[in-house]
Symmetry: C2
Subunit: 367 residues, 2 copies
């Protein structure tokens, strides 16, 4: 089944080791599924009516009381129905849930949509975010795949008509960065070297021959051995590579925030605030990186399992994607703990494997 791991930095009780009776299990399952559906605390009578449990409400009440003693359910107040706790969801996800696989028609449609869009473009990530949000009715997050270690691929040096000189660096993973040459600094350090297009071309040839596939420190070391102009530019390139190494999450694509807004638990607005804030800054994603890269597959982080306090009413269903040791991205959905896990998990899993596949096919069969 799902390879899923309790993934939280805070408390990591991998697989809660409860021995539940069959009745307790089916009551817990029914409570979770009903509550996920309705957002209303669920009472014993309603449960019996709706889920044909073949026992009386009183019996269910006893089971509920036991589950509450185990910490799997809670009470908002004395005479309200039961609500799953974070631990209750966790148990449900680990051993009660029946996953709802995507049906083949949906898969085909998704695949088709991806084929319409250029792999490296922002559109690609936007599409992934849109599909995730649509399929799960939650907010979704996608970050572009990015190498842990940026390496030199190919450089182009351009003298534009208006006097600007550009470095266009294609990294080994296909990402491109451009930077203007700081000509005043260049002239100060190498006053006698011309920087016309011919000089740039020959520098580019030298750089491409000498630096192919090197990471920042090696580029910096090799730079001292190149001819003046090429060497100076190699320093700049090393800077670009270091910059790329320093960034963990380059950009965050989100979609479906409105879905979260529609959930009754966030209708108030003030509750939404920390989430919006977290999504806008990318730090909350960066916190996830070490967790998600620990193992492959889908990771589920429920409520307070998340070390980030602002997220203690939020669940995350996330997976890494990308080419191992090449480029790594993250994708997943985010919503209230009351989340349709049986739907979200397979969707995230499918999308991560699909994007894996697409990225790896981009790198060609050589690799």
């Amino acid at each position: 089944m799902t390879e899923m791991r309790e993934a939280a930095p805070r408390s990591a009780p991998s697989r809660p080791a409860f021995e539940l009776t069959d009745r307790q299990r089916s009551v817990l399952r029914a409570v979770v599924e009903d509550y996920v559906l309705t957002a209303v605390p669920v009472g014993s009578k309603a449960l019996v009516d709706r889920y044909r449990l073949n026992v009386s409400p009183a019996t269910v009440r006893n089971a509920m009381a036991e589950l509450e003693a185990l910490g799997l359910l809670t009470h908002p107040h004395t005479s309200a129905g039961r609500v799953p706790s974070d631990l209750g969801y966790r148990f449900y996800v680990e051993s009660l849930m029946r996953e709802a696989e995507l049906d083949p028609a949906d898969r085909l449609m998704i695949r088709h949509q991806f084929s319409q869009v250029q792999l490296t473009s922002n559109e690609w990530h936007r599409l992934a975010a849109a599909i995730l949000a649509g399929a799960t009715h939650s907010a979704s997050v996608v970050t572009p795949a990015k190498s842990r270690r940026a390496r030199y691929g190919h450089v182009q040096l351009v003298a534009l008509g208006d006097g600007t000189r550009l470095i266009v660096l294609v990294m080994a993973d296909g990402n491109v960065v451009q930077r203007r040459l700081d000509r005043s600094a260049l002239e100060r350090q190498l006053p006698d070297v011309p920087v016309d297009q011919a000089a740039l071309d020959s520098a580019a040839i030298e750089l491409n021959a000498e630096l192919a596939n090197l990471a920042a420190p090696h580029v910096r070391r090799r730079a001292t051995k190149l001819r003046p102009l090429a060497g100076w530019i190699a320093e700049a390139i090393a800077g670009l590579l270091e910059e790329a190494d320093g960034v963990i999450v380059e950009e965050v694509f989100t979609d479906g925030i409105v879905h979260v807004l529609e959930q009754p638990e966030f209708s108030e607005g003030t509750k939404l605030r920390p989430i919006l804030e977290a999504l806008q800054r990318s730090d909350f994603i960066e916190q996830l990186v070490p967790v998600l890269t620990r193992g492959r597959g889908v990771h589920v982080i429920i409520g307070r399992e998340n070390a980030n306090d602002a997220m203690h009413e939020i669940s995350l269903v996330f997976a890494p994607y990308g080419a191992p040791d090449r480029a790594l991205g993250l994708l997943g959905v985010l919503g209230p703990t009351r989340m349709p896990y049986p739907r979200a998990i397979p969707t995230v899993r499918y999308l991560s494997t699909l994007m894996n596949e697409l990225i790896n096919s981009q790198y060609g069969e050589t690799q």
Copy 2:
């Protein structure tokens, strides 16, 4: 003063031609400023107390009734205070407002922050959005500057180690796009032509010599006259240029949505929905393009002046920036009609002139 134009496609009553008495003017000003500050409908007594009008509440009431008859104020209900109407804000912005210029220290700080960040990077736009949002306590929007007409600048053709071939196209305005070569199509059409790095290099030389500064249709025409490989790639390049021409707003950077969330008029959440939706899709920005490019300077669109129905409780303070006929971007803030215009307008104006300046200096003194 501000060059400001009623900018809405729907109703365009440029400069409402009201002749107000001095008393009416000062009452209207006081009502607007008090309401902007407190978000509470303002009554006659409170107004007299807070703004030292040297008349009795009754007199103010009469003035208010007159202003209401003119459509500048409204009543939420019989016995509540007065609230400015869209028209009231309009009049205030046109002729009552005392703009609060940014103080020199702030300007210097902003300038300094910009100098820390690469001009063409996403960081640049993110910074602009962050500054706008912070200074005005509203949501901000920034779109990258983009040419109306994409033109060829320089191309680089790269054979990466893994077999991928990339086109990296630097456009005349400095923007960069990359695209993988569709090698299977290439091999079908030009089965005998080699596509190793040497062949690519000579094609690139040819392309750079022949296509400099051309727009899509000219590239397409010229493509037929090039050697096979270069010609085929020129077709692909023409496609890239056309694609760039087709996109009006490439990307939208927003910040400070939380500020809108904090406004009492949006605490409900459901009201926020259309705004979040509009910000996520870029269409609402595209609607603004024709309006904003009609004249330079800051444009203010208040509430229902906006043709977009979802925005009828929203005001926009926007300005274009960029190099005329080169690249054009948009920036501005967005908030409830109850917006601190005297602060927002100078801030948007300053940022647009600053970014103008920076962009133009990028293009060099040649231009």
